[in-house]
Symmetry: C2
Subunit: 405 residues, 2 copies
């Protein structure tokens, strides 16, 4: 049996019209000879108020002290509602469909309520329904412990469910339906010439996701990668093929020993970043460094883009954490220099490994546009630069022109 | 048929005694029910003078102007010699064996002599021999173009052949036999407590290889990863299982949604590095930066660990390139400050993603040992620090103690 997993986010399920569109995608897969297993999120914000957030606020009106297992039970209702409604929509179009909760679908998790991890998938019930020719709709974002407690998956949510089912069913593909056409070379709101990527590797999309691309959660990519199940990021509102996520060299110039045409696959940005710089004293720089990083870690402040040297420690935090970070540092007797409103731009590509002059190209492009590089770093597949907010559009456009136009 | 690919490096094939050991490994695989396909390198240095280098110097004694296709033909003899000798050794032990050149084994490459890439593998002849119960010995490091020209694979060499055959044969495993027990948490020559890793992901081993671990070439890892063919790095001189390279979550705490016990998987170092620092002028910093990186790229000097800021550009080059880099920069009217004899230490682990306080732990460990951090950088799976050569052992030991003891 050829299984395909189709995952639809909350905003695709908000209205009857959208659900018709989703049902059409599913029925199309049936007509192409696949057995679809459909994963749904809760209806999104602006929808019919059955979103996870609105369910939680309902309970919080009563008490702020809801135990983890009960808030998870409550939150799991969001996907039950959207799944039951979607299954009914499909049946209304004359196709047999059945809805399963995460528990019924065999999504077995640990008991870390609110952020459970999937331990294994027992797809027996899915298989039974599927063999009878039924379209199976599964509630995303939820599972069950070995002891029968309902859990929710936290970060990655329904994408994680979809990827795990893809692995368990050895699906031909896991289609992640979104409101964008796929993965772009850059944010089309910033770069006019941004193009849709036909293909991307698991690693590249993980890195893009870590550096700010919101389309898919890295956790689900990591799951799919375990068995090389191809992911496809595509649009609910079009028939375009979207972006295929795979390691298969056959799609990369067709050679087993991969040669990549592109040095840079994509450019992404994280906005709202504050750079902090602390000049080190003549002596005892190391002790200061320990105090800085321990102090910030204890306060739960994530630091990034760290450059520690005997002269200075430079790093970035999110804008909203900057004041707290400054206070901690000042309490330690330090005088941090704060540069708020920065943007971390990352150029990512598995093809840059071993290619000379990539940094020269980046600095050249940015200089042509008079963009000052506040800080930089590089790994063998990524170059990061920190720029000022007002330079962001110029910076990303210049890099896109240099490597991707 | 259950295929297993076994790759033996040149130093494992140098003497008759070592070849007996190798033959025993192969025959053991047959007795376990596998069809072994054996990939060999040329006999190593210190061997019987049929190494790739000695073959080339033979030709260079006649002329320095050997055309690429002919130097490749010549170099390909190294593996033919070791392969024929090994096949004879196996037959001497009463097992049928056949030797195939890269061309006969169906390794089809592009025509980039000296550094060809494998386009596809046509394993027909391997399969025919294997089906007849023969042990197939294949010359590594070589292939043939569509037009019949013999090529050599350059970087990655025989590991690349082994991985490509593993993919083509859908092998149960590709065993890379080396003179070490497997992948270690750190260099055991530096850290007494260095441990053998039972498992590691493809990404982690790629990163370790890029950061200085010599055991396996990243190119072969990338090939095996395409079809999730497990690699095993193990020792020719023992029966220990070595280190398994895989993405399969079943080996990582058994959960489909991976939870990793370890924050840091391994620590590695690149020695012989010079840090160069160029202070920027008050104005026109960008123009200087362009001149620096273009000048170095044009001269073919690889730069790494780049931190460009409006105040200074800091980066590293290999010690042996430092003088040339300094000359280029001085010719541009700059006065680089040179710090030779540095070591780039990398702590690598897929488990550090999203874990707070990793940098605090690193700085803390290094400070306890009075190690000054000259420069640092971080990605979501790696933290790099630059230290002085005399601090290297202390630095790596301290990090190992912090994260891996």
């Amino acid at each position: 049996m050829k299984y395909i997993v189709q995952k639809f986010g909350g905003t695709s399920l908000n209205t009857a019209e959208l659900r018709e569109q989703v049902a059409a995608k599913i029925i199309h897969a049936v007509k192409e000879g696949y057995h679809p297993v459909v994963v749904v999120s809760a209806m999104g914000r602006g929808g019919e108020s059955y979103s996870t957030d609105s369910l939680l606020s309902l309970a919080y009106e009563v008490s702020r002290e809801i135990p983890g297992r009960e808030s998870d039970l409550l939150m799991s209702c969001g996907e039950v509602i959207s799944g039951v409604v979607l299954a009914a929509t499909i049946r209304g179009k004359g196709f047999p469909a059945v809805f399963l909760t995460g528990s019924q679908a065999g999504i077995i998790t640990d008991d870390n309520f609110n952020d459970a991890r999937i331990r294994r998938v027992d797809p027996q019930i899915i298989l039974e329904h599927s063999r009878l020719g039924k379209i199976v709709v599964v509630a995303g974002f939820q599972g069950v412990t070995e002891k029968g407690e309902i859990t929710t998956l936290g970060r990655g949510g329904s994408d994680t469910t979809a990827a795990a089912l893809g692995v368990a069913l050895e699906a031909v593909c896991v289609d992640i339906y979104t409101d964008v056409e796929g993965i772009m070379t850059a944010d089309p709101g910033i770069v006019n010439n941004a193009r849709l990527l036909e293909t991307i590797t698991y690693n590249e999309i993980c890195q893009l996701a870590h550096e700010g691309v919101k389309v898919i959660h890295p956790r689900s990519v990591e799951i799919a990668m375990q068995k090389n199940i191809p992911l496809r990021v595509r649009s609910t509102s079009s028939d375009a093929p979207g972006t295929l996520v795979t390691n298969d060299s056959q799609v990369y110039k067709g050679a087993i020993d991969i040669t990549r045409d592109r040095i840079v696959t994509g450019i992404t940005q994280k906005t709202g970043i504050t750079q902090l710089k602390i000049n080190m004293p003549e002596t005892n720089a190391s002790a200061w460094q320990v105090r800085i990083f321990k102090g910030l870690a204890l306060a739960g402040i994530s630091v990034d883009f760290i450059n520690a040297s005997p002269e200075a420690v430079v790093f970035t935090v999110k804008d909203e954490m900057a004041q707290k970070a400054v206070e901690i540092l000042e309490n330690l007797g330090m005088q941090p220099v704060k540069r708020p409103g920065c943007v971390k731009v990352a150029a990512i590509g598995a093809g840059m490994t071993g290619v000379p002059g990539v940094m020269a190209g980046i600095v050249d492009a940015l200089t042509r546009e008079n963009v000052a590089v506040l800080q930089s770093a590089d790994s063998y597949t990524t170059i990061w630069v920190l720029v000022q907010q007002e330079d962001m559009v110029k910076a990303i456009s210049a890099l896109h022109q240099q490597f991707l136009d």
